[in-house]
Symmetry: C2
Subunit: 350 residues, 2 copies
DNA sequence: AGAGCTTCCGTGTCCGTGCACGATTTTTTC
DNA sequence: GAAAAAATCGTGCACGGACACGGAAGCTCT
């Protein structure tokens, strides 16, 4: 594999009897080359197996590629906080490969803030964009702009039904619900399960928990059809209300020991669970938020199912970088991340 | 964060009134610089916040760094096969950053083949080496050579008690045994467990399973002290013998439903288990070998605990690359990988 | 004081590619 | 068929750094 003799653009020039300027024009499809010369150059490139020297190229053009990352504001301890931390994973290995990343944030409950953040992205003229589709139509409107300008973009977390994206990195949602059900009930005779849900803001269009819930219910139908499934709704911004809701539910259902929540906010109900211990209880939630992992350590939560959002971001950035610098397309479009099972016994080195 | 004006070596030269040649000598500690000039240059570098342009550097010196990877031969379907596949993960993002990887293989049961592979590595004059310590003294002898020549090296999988390595990437072994026990027995009243072991070749010095077993036993002592633990030994090269050993064991112990194996070869006993079904059985093994994952899919194995050997290799190579190219030391020396829990429900996208 | 040595430093070339500019050839136009 | 326009091509510098080479200055020694 040791490529001793590096073929350069000059070798091609000499071989074809043309100049490196012409070869360069061919390489970049910049026109102003006769059909005949073009063919000769292409032939020589094939024969000699020419590969451009990226360093020389990057050095000469001096241009830094900008990868824009468009995500909901990463308030500390939220899911998006995890995603943002994935940006740092690339700065060493790839920023050093001539590109720069810039984070654009918006309020995930305010569609206007999304629109203006999108406008800011366009203004920055990035070579690629990583984004999570929160507002469906607004996202489509934005990606259409990307298409027009030839800006490639990758989705993470979830994915709309459009088709122009370069790649997608996310969790198989339906399967994650299935896995979740197995972790919650396997090996036990479960007669009743409680699903805790969050009332969605009407602006929030894209909701991954829908698919998870359906995977969960499919599993239960197959493995424990007689199991009763209750739902309660909580408001994330009203801690007292959460306690109240749960209090009244368990007053009426003291026999329910299995609890599940399909978004990343299981930590919201942890205070209640801590103050109402139940040795038979089993709780499954999603995503490795700090607060969730804390609850895993002390045993309040039994299992967390995690999707490595940092990896999703890292891989998306790398895919865009390879596209921008080397012009490569990813092998596949859709990349489903592994679903990690976290328990108190393997939470430490995560 | 947009570094508009890139500071170059020429800026430093102009600022200090010296020439770029001198600045270069300072940057590389190549001597032939007066104390005074040295100080002035260092000061200017600080003030202006100079950072070398890696592309220009790589281009100018033209030298490709070689990262040697020294591992047991990766016969298809073995643990080392997984590790080797991690090499490919770096070729896109990092080979494009000016380095080349080369795999050196040896027979893990033949210490002489290890020695000669080590000699081959030295001869190749690599900028860094990734290796797994199989033979203790021979490994130490080799790493001492690395030290003498200033070649940095990283351990993966396990780690000797020496101290000269750049970084280590591996699984927390004791914890993995602990986790294993929990996955095997949690939520059930287990009265008896079978550990299947492989007789070690006498040359094989480094044995990660020892620590795993001790973690396992610690868990059992804490959580199920009255549980009986049996051991049987099998010979990997004698399939008929394996069947025989298990046959006779289960003839005498029909009440044992929980089986564990601390190395990657649970697949060796899968044929027997398949032909002797037991609905109450629970089996836990290690590592995502193809055959193991197959057994997970069909339910013969309940859980696999995996350590992402590809990631270990990738991270080790990246650490060495950063050291070779940028001169950076990794933030920590010891990196414990997460222990992944695989069940039939999350094996697909692994 | 001049030869011989160190020590220190500047100049210049090269790495491989991008691109602007101008030169040359071919084609079009009248 | 000459002038004008278009198509095609070559030259040369720039990017930022590595390193060889040779020159200047200071020192020691006879």
């Amino acid at each position: 594999m040791v490529q001793n003799e590096k073929i350069t653009i000059n070798d091609i020039a000499r071989r074809t009897g043309l100049s490196k300027g012409t070869v360069d024009r061919v390489l970049h499809n910049r026109g102003e080359v006769s059909r005949k010369s073009y063919a000769r150059v292409m032939e020589a490139i094939q024969e000699l197996g020419y590969e451009p020297n990226i360093f020389a190229s990057l050095l000469a053009k001096g241009k830094k590629h900008l990868i824009a990352i468009l995500l909901p504001a990463h308030e500390s301890g939220t899911f998006w906080d995890l995603a943002v931390s994935g940006i740092a994973l690339t700065t060493d290995s790839v920023t050093s490969a001539g590109l720069e990343t810039k984070l654009f944030e918006y309020d995930q409950y305010d569609i206007d803030s999304f629109r203006s953040a999108g406008a800011a992205v366009l203004e920055a003229e990035p070579s690629g964009v990583v984004l999570a589709p929160m507002f469906q139509e607004a996202t489509t409107a934005l990606t259409e702009q990307f298409q027009e300008r030839g800006i490639p973009y990758c989705f993470i977390d979830s994915r709309p039904d459009t088709n122009g994206y370069l790649a997608y990195f996310g969790m198989p949602l339906h399967k994650s619900g299935y896995l979740c059900a197995d972790q919650l009930t396997r090996g036990q005779d479960v007669s009743s399960v409680l699903i805790i849900r969050v009332r969605r803001d009407r602006y929030q269009q894209s909701d991954p928990t829908v698919n998870r819930r359906s995977g969960f219910l499919d599993y239960m139908l197959e493995h424990a059809p007689e199991c009763k499934i209750d739902n309660v709704f909580i408001d994330p911004n009203d801690p007292a209300g959460i306690d109240q809701v749960l209090e009244s539910f368990f007053a009426g259902h003291p026999d329910v020991h299995h609890i599940v929540m399909f978004n990343s906010r299981i930590h919201l109900v942890v205070p209640f669970l801590r103050s109402h211990p139940d040795p038979e209880r089993r709780v499954v939630g999603f995503d490795n938020l700090k607060a969730n992992m804390e609850a895993l350590r002390d045993g309040t939560v039994s299992v967390l199912i995690c999707q490595r959002p940092e990896e999703q971001v890292r891989l998306a950035i790398e895919a865009l970088a390879e596209h921008a610098i080397l012009g490569k397309l990813p092998a596949r479009k859709d990349h489903f991340m592994h679903m990690d099972i976290l328990t108190r016994f393997n939470v430490e080195d995560y």
